[in-house]
């Protein structure tokens, strides 16, 4: 079987090829939208044209079989038009209002979950985990599934004060948007890596390895022609392991995840915010990480009970203060919470006013 002729540097297809006519006709001329239900909305153009969107949850890992099934539905209701969101949901794009209800009905019937629009929890940004990445210190898809089984009502029905953006990253490279999420999970190591001196000598560039360490914990070791690590300085980031595989950071019995909270991306009301450490550690407990799920549920409950309408998690916490966050959630405050890295100067309290 001969292959077609390869082409280079063509780039992706122009998006125009894939836009439904209603979008082509009203591109840049939308006037407003209305959320019709937690999973459906309509956008109305200056021209009066309408576009209906149905948002469908996705596990992100999709088998071709599932993609084909969704495509079939898109053909039936949307002239074949669909898109994915930046948080990996599927959106069916309906031009004909009459097809909205039947489409929703068939999706539900086939077991698809519809929701995620408005002040809710939408899909969880996450990463490869044990499914595909050598660096993974936990599994991302597994935690996401366990979390969302518990929280799915916030996708399909229940409202919160505002959107709550969740994320999971399977190592501190943080390919997921953990550092700017309302609530996120990030996998962390807790022990100094071991060094396979012989292979370090063979496989790694010593200066790159030394340079990879954020805390200058790594020194060349001329004796072994390898490197050595100052245990006092290492905070287990694993960057040395990324650039030099014979430095092994994985320690299944001591590895686990941390929970961070209060990040935010949009500039609405308050500036974008980094997530901050809420809980420094839970052991990995596959398949369902029950303590992690409970902890997240608890934070969401406390947020829901205490935040003002439109307040994001981080905005609520900053209003009441972190003292209250720890008090209200019952989370223990530990040495790990106190920054001793790049933001230390700015995050230690420089005021005589605070809450007990």
């Amino acid at each position: 079987m001969s292959l077609p002729e390869r082409q280079t540097d063509v780039g992706p297809p122009h998006f125009e090829k894939f836009l439904p006519p209603v979008i082509k006709n009203n591109y840049g001329k939308w006037k407003y939208h209305e959320v019709l239900s937690p999973g459906t909305m309509v956008h109305v153009a200056e021209s009066g044209d309408e576009l209906y969107t149905v948002r469908v949850a996705s596990p992100r890992i999709l088998a071709t079989e599932t993609i084909r099934e969704v495509c079939d539905l898109a053909e039936k209701y949307c002239d074949g038009h669909l898109r994915f969101t930046t948080r990996n949901n599927i959106e069916l794009l309906i031009s004909d209002k009459a097809k909205l209800d039947p489409c929703v009905a068939e999706l539900k019937e086939k077991g698809y979950m519809i929701g995620g629009i408005g002040p809710r929890i939408s899909n969880v940004i996450h990463t490869q985990g044990w499914v595909h990445c050598h660096s993974a210190c936990t599994d991302a898809s597994g935690i996401v599934k366990a979390m969302m089984d518990e929280l799915h009502e916030y996708f399909t029905t229940k409202e919160l004060p505002n959107k709550v953006r969740l994320a999971v990253a399977c190592c501190v490279n943080m390919c997921g948007a953990v550092h700017v999420s309302d609530i996120a999970v990030v996998a962390v190591h807790r022990k100094v890596p071991t060094i396979d001196d012989e292979n370090v000598g063979k496989m790694c560039e010593i200066p790159t390895t030394v340079g990879s360490c954020p805390t200058s914990a790594i020194r060349p070791n001329p004796k072994t022609k390898s490197v050595s690590i100052n245990e006092e300085k290492c905070m287990y980031c694993g960057n040395c392991f990324t650039v030099c595989p014979p430095i092994d950071i994985h320690r299944p019995e001591d590895d686990g995840v941390a929970i961070v909270v209060g990040g935010k991306i949009g500039s609405l009301r308050t500036s974008p915010k980094f997530s901050k450490l809420a809980i420094p550690f839970f052991y990995n407990e596959p398949p369902r990480w029950p303590k992690v799920v409970d902890a997240i549920k608890n934070i969401i409950d406390v947020y829901a009970a205490n935040a003002k309408k439109h307040e994001r998690v981080g905005e609520w916490i900053e209003r009441v203060g972190w003292e209250d966050f720890f008090k209200l959630t019952g989370i223990e405050f530990t040495f790990q919470h106190i920054d001793d890295f790049t933001f230390m100067r700015d995050t230690l309290r420089t005021s005589a006013a605070f809450k007990y």
Partner: protein, 394 residues
């Protein structure tokens, strides 16, 4: 197939949220690679660790990026994933597809790969999850001939990405998809042939809601904004009030600049004080619309925490026009930024990290942008600052 018992993973087929395990099993029914993926993953769940080796360098002829090499560390136990590389297809801007196009992609993938995908990867690529080294060239021939090129990886430009923008959003100040597509096409060489100090990411959002998280995870973050007064439809204001919205507490009191007032009837905005944060507009979309002169704020430097902590992008250009005829100005700005970075960065040093080392001034000078209060949250605190020879001429 179903070669493996997967008691742990089976637990993750329970519960209402769609299950990735179910997806892997679907593929595994007919695909040996996916079946071994399932087996190895179950083992990871049992032992709490991954079994992947560091990726080697694999790819397609003439390209240096687009494929992530991945090998199992247990190739004998799980031969189907001995090679299990990902193939990153550059998504169309805005993630729009037709069913025909997607089905074609699936057909080819079933032929050469695991049948598993990520729709989409965090950077934005349509990620095909798991194939062998030998399959890479055929896959490339099949896809590229149909107009699907590879995305970025390694020390290269990475696949640009954007929000849905003008295609379906009333708040798009700029043609996010148009800019994203333009950038992607403009930087094809930089995308495919790694020649940078490290990765370089571009993301484009139509407004300050920033639905593609541009400000948080792109070396270059382009975010739409406007000049001029917010347009108010007072009749719609009244409808929101009648509909039960507490305009005072939900809108006026939450305006960060305190520039709105509401007398129970009309909303007034002191627009010179407005910071264009989008809150009031987002919560009252029928009543409030942005000002009419549209453009973007260009920010630089965000990234994940390795090595010295995560960064959120910093304002470089407070306002730049972005109409179709301005796209070239944007690519030129981008080229200048990249050139400065490329000339000055150490290997594995991202743009934001370089700025932290050198300061903003050299970058501003390199791209010809004046210092402006908009670039800082507040001026410096300590009395230590540099003077260039040029400063003495004034």
């Amino acid at each position: 197939m179903a070669k493996y018992d997967t008691p742990m993973l089976d637990e993750l087929e329970k519960g209402p949220w769609p299950s990735f395990v179910t997806e892997i099993k679907k593929a595994a029914k007919t695909n040996k690679m996916s079946d071994d993926e399932l087996g190895q993953l179950e083992k990871s769940f049992q032992t709490k660790r991954g079994y992947w080796k560091h990726g080697g360098i694999v790819g397609v002829l003439g390209y240096g990026s687009g494929v992530i090499g991945r090998y199992s560390s247990l190739p004998e136990e799980f031969p189907g994933v001995a090679h299990f590389h990902t193939y990153r297809i550059n998504q169309p801007s805005g993630f729009f597809y037709t069913s025909a196009a997607l089905k074609e992609i699936c057909d080819i993938w079933d032929k050469y790969g695991s049948g598993l995908t990520n729709m989409h990867g965090s950077t934005g690529d349509l990620v095909l999850l798991g194939t062998t080294t030998e399959a890479l060239e055929p896959l490339f021939a099949e896809y590229s001939s149909r107009g699907w090129d590879l995305g970025g990886s390694g020390s290269a430009m990475r696949t640009p990405s954007c929000c849905v923008g003008m295609a379906r959003c009333e708040w798009a100040n700029i043609d996010a998809m148009g800019i994203c597509n333009h950038m992607t096409q403009h930087f094809q060489d930089e995308l495919h042939r790694p020649a940078f100090p490290y990765k370089f990411k571009i993301k484009v959002s139509g407004c300050a809601c920033d639905c593609v998280a541009a400000i948080a995870r792109a070396d270059l973050s382009i975010i739409g904004t406007w000049k001029g007064n917010i347009r108010i439809d007072q009749a719609e204001v009244k409808k929101y009030a009648d509909g039960g919205m507490d305009i005072q507490s939900e809108i006026i009191d939450m305006c960060p600049t305190d520039c709105m007032s509401y007398d129970g009837g009309e909303i007034k905005i002191n627009d010179v004080q407005c910071s264009r944060c989008m809150h009031c507009i987002a919560k009252m979309t029928k009543a409030l619309r942005q000002g009419e002169e549209k453009g973007a704020t260009v920010l630089v430097g965000s990234k994940a925490p390795i090595v010295v902590g995560s960064l959120i992008s910093w304002v470089l250009v407070p306002f730049i026009k972005c109409d179709d005829e301005d796209f070239e100005k944007l690519t030129e700005l981008t080229e200048n930024i990249i050139e400065w970075w490329d000339d000055n960065a150490k290997p594995r040093e991202r743009l934001g990290e370089l700025i932290e080392v050198k300061g903003m001034r050299p970058l501003l000078e390199a791209v010809g942008v004046d210092p402006q209060p908009q670039q800082v949250r507040e001026p410096r605190k300590d009395p230590f600052f540099f003077w260039a020879d040029s400063d003495f001429e004034k």
